[in-house]
């Protein structure tokens, strides 16, 4: 076991992936609780697809992937929140339209230029090798911002998540906090996407919250449990990916699914006892 761990950490790329991944998993879980409870789960999914489109375009143009995807995904988050509010097109339909369009644009650009290659494949399903020194720096910076804002506005986020009408009535600007959560989600998705894969990153947002809600009954305990579950599943996923040579993103999702079933079972047992 010890030998296994030493060999695991002897690879610099694994250490980098672990740092970035743990931070992203932690932040995604916190934001995920609000998104899931507000029935905005699909926003994470939509934004990651937009991110895929942006990455493909940046690949075709030969520019740095983050510089293109960060503003594009942030803009998409802004538009999705606005569409949801104005209800011309209902929220879930708006997300579906935006995400499939983004994938389509990405694929068209790729096939017209570089063609489907390993890079594109990695963008979709993630690569543990993708994390560079600068990604580590960026993820530390972004997660520091997310954690600080989340802690400062925790009470407001709870009030807006639980009851937007009431929150507005006592003078909380609910729209701002919705936008804040969407923007922070966009940031986290962009940072974590290349490692987890555009098709898999939304699991980091949705799974931990849904899993924790099986068992825990207060908002605070759900938030804390989500963070713990998310970090645990990520680390376990990386270890499994290293041991069995399976893609990291898929391994993390598989662990999340297992833990979800475990929590469902725990809930059954607890209910049976009452």
């Amino acid at each position: 076991m010890f030998d296994f761990l030493t060999s695991l950490f002897s690879y610099a790329f694994i250490t980098r992936a672990l740092i970035v991944g743990v931070l992203v998993a932690l932040c995604a879980a916190l934001l995920g609780v609000s998104l899931v409870l507000k029935r905005y789960s699909m926003i994470g999914d939509g934004l990651s697809h937009v991110g895929f489109g942006a990455l493909s375009v940046s690949l075709a143009l030969g520019v740095a992937p983050l510089e293109v995807s960060l503003p594009v995904v942030a803009l998409a988050a802004f538009l999705l929140m606005r569409l949801g509010e104005n209800s011309m097109i209902k929220g879930d339909a708006a997300i579906a339209i935006i995400s499939s369009s983004a994938i389509a644009i990405g694929i068209i650009v790729v096939s017209l230029t570089t063609g489907m290659n390993v890079d594109v494949y990695n963008y979709m399903f993630g690569s543990i090798l993708a994390m560079s020194e600068s990604d580590v720096m960026l993820s530390v910076l972004v997660s520091a911002v997310v954690l600080t804002l989340y802690a400062l506005f925790y009470n407001k986020i709870f009030a807006v998540t639980f009851d937007e009408s009431f929150a507005r009535a006592i003078g909380i600007r609910a729209g701002r906090y919705n936008m804040l959560v969407a923007m922070l989600t966009a940031l986290i998705i962009v940072v974590g996407m290349r490692m987890m894969g555009a098709l898999l990153i939304s699991s980091l947002i949705i799974f931990p919250a849904v899993t924790s809600m099986r068992v825990f009954k207060s908002f605070k305990s759900v938030v804390i449990c989500s963070a713990a579950v998310s970090v645990f599943c990520f680390v376990a996923g990386i270890v499994i990916s290293f041991a069995w040579s399976v893609p990291a993103g898929a391994a993390v999702v598989a662990v999340n699914l297992t833990v979800f079933f475990l929590f469902c079972a725990v809930k059954r047992v607890l209910m049976g006892r009452l």
């Binding site: 639980f162 009851d163 009535a169 006592i170």
Partner: protein
């Protein structure tokens, strides 16, 4: 001196006139029931009172209370039905704060829970409570936001008759303790039974007056089917 005076208020919702030239006053200690058919502009007027929507003409004047100092009891949403939150967390969220809740806010939350007899439910999960208990929790939260004025939007929606009667008795008690009540309701029987004043919203022209006058009016007779001695 009226807490709220609405003078010739006209409001639009989605480009349509929803509230048309409505005037009424809310005096301290009043129990005002806002009744009217679906689409008569009740919800839009509520938004106006809460300061979330501006009237296109006329004015809503507050005196001695701010629009953000109204204790609001909104209708429950689907999302709340399986929301993991403790009763204490929900009640506390009614307190206004910059960022974090201080001692005073926590004391207020506990006091209002005792007041509504839900102190023992403090650590219970909101989604596991009965409909009546959930309304008490939301009322306690509303009381955290106000000292003076509660605005209740269909408080008895979806409750069984026994619990409904208990809830109305509770609201009447709060009213007697000096809190002004504005209640939007479909339940005309209880509106005329408990309300001291009635605002009947209609597409053209609203009725506003005491409950006694309302029962004698044309609108009142039509809505109540002619019962006068409630």
């Amino acid at each position: 001196m009226a807490l709220i005076s609405c003078e010739n208020v006209t409001m639009k919702y989605d480009g349509q006139t929803a509230v048309d030239n409505v005037s009424f006053r809310v005096e301290p200690g009043d129990y005002l029931c806002i009744v009217g058919e679906n689409g008569s502009g009740k919800s839009t007027l509520v938004k106006g009172l809460l300061g979330l929507l501006k009237p296109v003409s006329g004015k809503i004047v507050f005196d001695g209370v701010e629009s953000s100092e109204i204790g609001y009891l909104p209708q429950q949403t689907m999302a709340q039905k399986d929301f993991p939150a403790s009763v204490y967390e929900v009640v506390l969220s009614g307190c206004r704060s910059r960022m974090f809740y201080g001692k005073e806010a926590k004391r207020r939350a506990l006091m209002n829970m005792e007041r509504l007899d839900i102190g023992s439910l403090k650590n219970k999960c909101y989604r596991e409570l009965s409909g009546g208990q959930q309304q008490r929790v939301l009322l306690a939260r509303a009381l955290c936001a106000t000292e003076k004025l509660l605005l209740l939007d269909e408080p008895a929606a979806g409750l069984d008759p026994v619990i409904t009667a208990e809830l109305y008795a509770l609201i009447a008690e709060l009213n007697e303790s000096g809190i002004t009540i504005i209640m939007v309701s479909h339940d005309i029987q209880n509106a005329v039974r408990y309300g001291s004043r009635i605002l009947h919203m209609a597409m053209h022209g609203a009725f506003f007056g005491t409950t006694g006058d309302y029962l004698k009016s044309e609108e009142g007779r039509r809505m109540t089917g002619g019962i006068e001695d409630v």
